[in-house]
């Protein structure tokens, strides 16, 4: 007789899950016992549940499938809270399965008991505390269905230990019974026609593409739309890699650290088409001053995003694949060929006029951070490479300097801004795409939050290359304190050489490289990328370097500050 734990694994197998990430513990022991008794699913043993959660996110982002994480009750489950919140804000499809104390102990403050469905209530699409063993197959079927339909996101299934142990003859249901879950499936033809007409009349249109486009698997439809009507594309941090970045119609990344030409394109356009994007404050700057003259066409699968922050003149709610395909078809009938050419010429002119800049520094000075990203870009151009990042200055430089032509090759924490996301996300991405080279661009602050997962990378044979932009400080905080707090530096110094990152990497069984001079950079990166093992390249860079351009918090996007900044920038 099989039990509830077996039913969990058979359900995951039925959903086509090939990898799960997790750590065992008391309340989830029966599921781990079922793993040991045999399954087609690979389990990647993380060193911290937060790592397991971010690995599942990295897996989901790289593959376009659902990431799955296991954790035990109590602290195991609470350690998953950060990845769940991260997946919530970035709409990453995630199924988290946690063990819970035995049913008869729930509510008694039992050992390792915590109300994880309660704790995660505001950051999941839905969650289940399984009440009986018979529920397990239907609940998991529903969990996978909810995670991937409509706007993607995390769900949580909490299973008491006695229910995992209870006998059950497994049968997986064919249909999902969720009468209250009805995400939009069809496209509103009249709205699409209206959108096509507004776009056809536009002189200065811009496609403002977010992560929703990648979740919708609609990159081919986007490319066709842009090429059909000659529409320039800007991609947000979450939308990066949704449109080939060496394509002549790609005009960068809007927002707080986006290039001037990208922000000018967004803010001076006459028709703004938001595609799976949500007018996040990091993109818009001061909302009331954002894209002041633009008619907004908003395409999204989530109706609640329409009008949430910016009024949509033409809302189109529906799955983006058919929405974009329909829009392309309608637009093909009404668009005038070449009508956007003067606007594209203007954008090209701005791009040439306001390139990304940084101070090269004098001979003998410390290495600047930007050349690290430039070298990485040169060495990986054209290859099958997936980048992940932590959060901070290095993340913004990665956005600016790494050009991603293939979908799902830039994986980062956008909404929650989770420091430490990069290394575990890279391990997860490697599990999803073993044939790709996976590079984590990390900061020294981020690195120290999740570097224990390097050992997971080594032992699970999921090699990644960590390019550490080590400025010996919490760089983005340093930048804000420098620019907006009168250079009163407060608790930002980490020091370049402690820990000795290369030695730490070696201690974890990885290769370690230290780069202190520009001349050493390329050789170290080349060797790390070629060695086929997990490697850390510690690039010690100038902490004084700021990330520009920058839209100061609360300022209008058109008021962005370029390199080098003046002294009196209002906060």
């Amino acid at each position: 007789m099989t039990n509830g734990a077996d039913a969990v694994l058979r359900s995951l197998e039925a959903e086509g899950v090939d990898v799960v990430f997790g750590i065992p513990g008391g309340a989830i022991l029966p599921i781990y016992d079922a793993l040991a008794r045999g399954t087609s699913i690979r389990h990647v043993l993380a060193r911290h549940e937060q790592g397991a959660g971010h690995m599942a996110e990295g897996y989901a982002r790289a593959s376009g499938r659902i990431g799955v994480a296991f954790a035990t009750s109590g602290p195991g489950a609470t350690n998953l809270v950060t990845p769940i919140a991260d997946a919530w804000l970035d709409s990453t499809p995630l199924v988290c399965i946690t063990g819970q104390v035995r049913s008869n102990l729930i509510g008694t403050d039992a050992f390792q008991e915590c109300d994880i469905t309660g704790i995660t209530l505001p950051i999941v699409k839905h969650s289940w505390l399984v009440q009986s063993v018979e529920e397990i197959p239907a609940v998991l079927k529903a969990a996978f269905h909810v995670a991937r339909t409509g706007r993607c996101g995390p769900v949580l299934v909490d299973i008491p230990r006695d229910i995992q142990e209870a006998p059950l003859e497994f049968a997986y249901p064919d249909v999902v019974n969720l009468p209250g879950w009805r995400p939009p499936k069809r496209v509103h033809a009249r709205q699409v026609r209206e959108a096509a007409h507004r776009l056809a009349e536009a002189e200065r249109p811009v496609l403002y593409v977010g992560g929703g486009l990648l979740n919708a698997h609609a990159t081919a439809e986007l490319l066709e739309l842009a090429e059909t009507a000659g529409l320039p594309v800007v991609t947000t941090l979450m939308g990066k890699s949704a449109f080939p970045e060496t394509h002549e119609l790609h005009f960068g990344w809007p927002g707080m650290h986006g290039p001037k030409w990208s922000n000018w394109a967004m803010n001076t356009c006459d028709v703004l088409v938001a595609v799976g994007s949500r007018f996040d404050d990091r993109v818009t700057g001061k909302l009331s001053a954002f894209a002041p003259g633009a008619t907004v066409i908003h395409l999204d699968v989530d109706s609640a995003e329409i009008d949430k922050l910016r009024y949509a003149d033409v809302p189109v709610v529906g799955p983006l694949q058919p929405v974009l395909a329909e829009l392309t078809r309608e637009l093909g009938e009404v668009a005038r060929a070449g009508s956007t050419e003067p606007w594209l010429a203007q954008l090209r002119e701005w791009r040439e006029q306001f390139p990304l800049r940084y101070g090269a520094g004098d001979e003998g000075e410390m290495l600047k951070p930007q050349p690290v990203l430039e070298a990485l870009q040169e060495l990986t151009a054209g290859g099958d490479v997936i980048f992940t990042t932590g959060v901070g200055q290095h993340q913004m430089w990665a956005m600016q300097y790494l050009l991603c032509d293939r979908p799902r090759t830039f994986i980062t924490s956008g909404g929650l801004g989770t420091m430490g996301y990069g290394i575990p996300a890279a391990v997860g991405a490697k599990a999803a795409r073993p044939e790709a080279t996976v590079v984590c661009v990390d900061g020294d602050g981020c690195f120290q939050m999740t570097c224990q997962e390097l050992v997971t990378s080594v032992l699970e044979d999921l090699p990644i290359v960590v390019v550490l932009v080590n400025n010996g400080s919490l760089g983005m905080v340093r930048q804000w304190q420098d620019m907006f707090f009168d250079e009163r530096f407060s608790q930002i110094e980490l020091t370049h050489h402690l820990p000795d990152y290369a030695a730490l990497a070696e201690a974890y069984g990885a290769r370690g490289f230290t780069v202190e001079r520009g001349g050493e950079l390329r050789a170290a990166l080349e060797e790390a990328l070629a060695c086929g093992r997990t490697a850390v390249v510690d690039c010690r860079v100038d902490p004084r370097e700021h990330c520009f351009p920058m839209i100061p918090a609360g300022a209008a996007a058109l008021e962005l500050v370029e390199y080098p900044h003046g002294q009196a920038v209002p906060a």
């Binding site: 505001p122 609640a304 329409i306």
Partner: protein
Amino acid sequence: MKHTLSVLVENRPGALARVVGMFRRRSFNIDSLAVGPTERRDVSRITLRVDCGEHALSQIEKQIHKLVDVLRVNELPADESVERELALINVTAPPSRRAELLALAEAFRARVADLGPEAIVFEIVGAPKEVDAFEELVRPHGIKELVRTGRVGLARAAAPVPDGRPQYVLR
């Protein structure tokens, strides 16, 4: 501007917490809340009174609609629905004031739910405004305790049953 929202939810553990949690998380306020069974055993109705503008109301409706346990959400417009509320009011009533209080109750069709030597517990059911009016009239006599259910409502008998999906109109 005050609005009444009627939300049908699947009768599952946590369904109410999810609806209420959405309000807290997104900084919307609830004026009153009433929960109870419906014509279907597996479905409960939550009636919410909220004070917000049209933009916030639309956000509230759409965010509630996304909750997996929610079957239907719709506004009950004042002129197209029936709304009722029940109050129990324990009023100080020495023998000398009883006649006056009973006359007031008579005028408002409030009932005496319980009678003590020095107090009366009145029960009034009516449109929320009527309950307000009765409460104000007995207040000078001394309200010892009071409880109101919060309003419940239904669309008028002649109205079609709404499907509760957010509507998108061409602008």
